[in-house]
Amino acid sequence: MNDHRVKGVDHAAFPTFDPAATVRFYRDTLKFPVVHSICAAGWGPDDHPDFIHFFFDIGNDDRIAFFYYFGLEPVHAHGRGDVYAGFGPDVPDFFVNSRHLAIHVDSEEDLLEYRRRLDASDWPCEMQVMHETIESIYTHDPNGYMVELTRALRPVTPQEDLDAELTIDALCEVAAEPDPSLEKLLTRKAELIVERAATWEPAVSR
């Protein structure tokens, strides 16, 4: 019996204060179909406003969703971050830029098609990057959320799954100790490689 039963993202939900721009970005620019919406009167606690919950198809039957709350003013005035979370000058850029949604495409042609759509809009591609084994484009949506579109440069190999397991086991050990560092992780990982990788063989495909 397969114990890993989940089937990907049903929906990931975010608040918006600008539904018109959000629709222009996701539906009109990226051409993600609107596939569902809920018009809801305030419910539950007395202070819950009326709201619209609306969904865009991001492929594979997965969806990105938004909440628009009538009468709610922006919850912070920071210039950095997104409409959900703002950050002051003390928070470094790499941290502010860490949280994002990455949407998969199958080919370079598809990636460049989305780049064309973005570049013709008010939200042009900000960055196109060749990572280790993926290539990605990035922009921020009208709400300040970072959106990545990405393609695999090659399939993931079985040894990369083993490598990831060893990394995570080493990370959990090192992060539980004082002063975790990359050097400590790589030192522990070398021990795990000797213990477990020497006799490792790729699983036979079923």
Partner: protein, 82 residues
């Protein structure tokens, strides 16, 4: 026995090739990893000689045995005895 491990994936081929061409270094296979041993000396890999682009270069190191990274920048990876 100062040594590093590098995973056997196509992106890391340049690192392994440069190590194999260095008479000071011994390269052996440990499962799906390459173990690059400096004996009692240092491991120095020139990034440009590997042809690795930056994202690959900065994530090529999988393990450190009796080793400390003294330099890992756009020019070189230098690993010394700990």
């Amino acid at each position: 026995m100062t040594a590093i491990f590098v995973l056997d994936v196509p992106e890391n081929e340049g690192v392994v090739r440069v190590a194999e061409q260095d008479a000071q270094l011994q390269v052996e296979k440990v499962g799906p990893y390459f173990r690059i041993d400096a004996g009692g000396g240092e491991i120095v890999i020139d990034r440009r000689a590997t042809g690795c682009r930056h994202a690959v270069w900065y994530s090529a190191l999988a393990g450190l045995q009796d080793a400390r990274v003294a330099q890992h920048d756009k020019d070189a990876l230098r690993v010394v005895r700990r």
